[in-house]
Subunit: 263 residues, 2 copies
Amino acid sequence: MAGRAVRFHLQTQRGSRDGPTPNHSIDMLIRKLESIARLSDEEKNAIGHLPVTVRPLNAGQDIVREKDRPSQCCLLLEGWACRYQILGKGKRQIFSFHIPGDIPDLQSLHLKVMDHSVCTQSQATVAFIPHEALLELTATFPGIAAILWRDTLVDGAVFREWMTGIGRRTALQAVAHLFCELYVKLEAVGLARDHAYRLPLTQADLGDALGLSNVHINRVLKELRGKGWITLHGGRLEINGWRELAHLCDFDPTYLHLERRAA
Amino acid sequence: MAGRAVRFHLQTQRGSRDGPTPNHSIDMLIRKLESIARLSDEEKNAIGHLPVTVRPLNAGQDIVREKDRPSQCCLLLEGWACRYQILGKGKRQIFSFHIPGDIPDLQSLHLKVMDHSVCTQSQATVAFIPHEALLELTATFPGIAAILWRDTLVDGAVFREWMTGIGRRTALQAVAHLFCELYVKLEAVGLARDHAYRLPLTQADLGDALGLSNVHINRVLKELRGKGWITLHGGRLEINGWRELAHLCDFDPTYLHLERRAA
DNA sequence: CGGGAGGTTGAAATCACTCAATTAGAGTGG
DNA sequence: CCACTCTAATTGAGTGATTTCAACCTCCCG
């Protein structure tokens, strides 16, 4: 375990310590929800009273595992996470990457058994929220339920897009598409601009996400670098040829359903 | 268009005609929802008053298309449907197959723009339900909202499983896994037994679902037939070697989240 | 008995994989 | 600051799975 859990009840404590506090995490959640729909004061107040446990995590730590029956959801405050499944014979499929503001295991609210695992992809801070509290919140405020439901629907849309990436795009297009997707998602929450961002993924991670081998990912990256479209070094990606990259993979961000931008 | 639309208000008409009536469709919906959780009489009554339009469709007809902004959802009463997307250059990716009881475009309730299309895969009967009515229903009955939400979450779980099929399984395993999945889903709603079912899919459809060419699907089927594990002819599949097939692809139905079986 | 969609097969080409070795970088302890 | 170590990145060579192309067959339906 990477650090001590810190349990708070919201709005009874002020963040006098370093690092993300529960207040910070609730702000994150409210900002996230308001990026979709307006919240009433009553709704915000109810969210503010959610019991939250904040915990720092190291890279590569599982947050929930396949077969678990979790009793809480995790809100990612800092760092990246991914969802994945291990097949026999050491193969791995990564289903999604998650960035601050995401609730990667929101589905566990209604699907009792985990059919995959969630893992940190970098150092991270997560806020755990008990199912019980979330279920009560969504039962009381259908508007909040609708926003969270919508969030899982967007997840599904991204899964579909990845399916076409894996199934019907060339390796070059698949990598390009992933880079475009991640940029648009990060940019939307203010974590990237100027077509550059921190990318805490190894080539093996990229391969496991796109159904390719790490070796082949390496060659694809070499080609993209050779064309001068990307710079990737030390976990930082710069897209120097956005237009070309987006055109190569026919990138259309409709499926991300970013109707409004986060504040 | 394949036939006339028939508009009813539920429980005000009795099905004196041939074919599925709105009552039939509401029964289907209630049965579907009750396969997940018990419904109160009040909830059943509210569902019974949903306005529904029943329509027969031919095979290969689009129900909704990418870029559409639908104002209704469709409940599949008879026949199969699939969700898909066309890429440039004539490539197609199929995201899911749907069977009676499914609401393939339920996501449109909260995602305004379609990022893919839905198409009948055989002759089919569908019931259209206005978004307006569903939104009111879910706002009034959080329990019903939760069941429908859950349904879309299972969709997502199947998408993930398909991702691993396309990305990390061999062609043989991928086909085997799909056949197992479809059997379990059909069996759960009483549409299959004895490891056999009607499969209204061409080899090209299977290929587009699994990210393979129709030619290769053909060869894989030949191999599965050669092993004596399946019989596939005239749109009917018999799995003669269920154990072997399931073992080949390491089939684990957890991801289908069939906690209870439909009546 | 024709027409058409779907199924089947062979041959050649291609994309991506595996294996194996080498290099680069980051972190650690002396 | 350097040697050591571990992980990740890189490269080459050989292999294998799957695609593409093209032809032919089969079955169903009107």
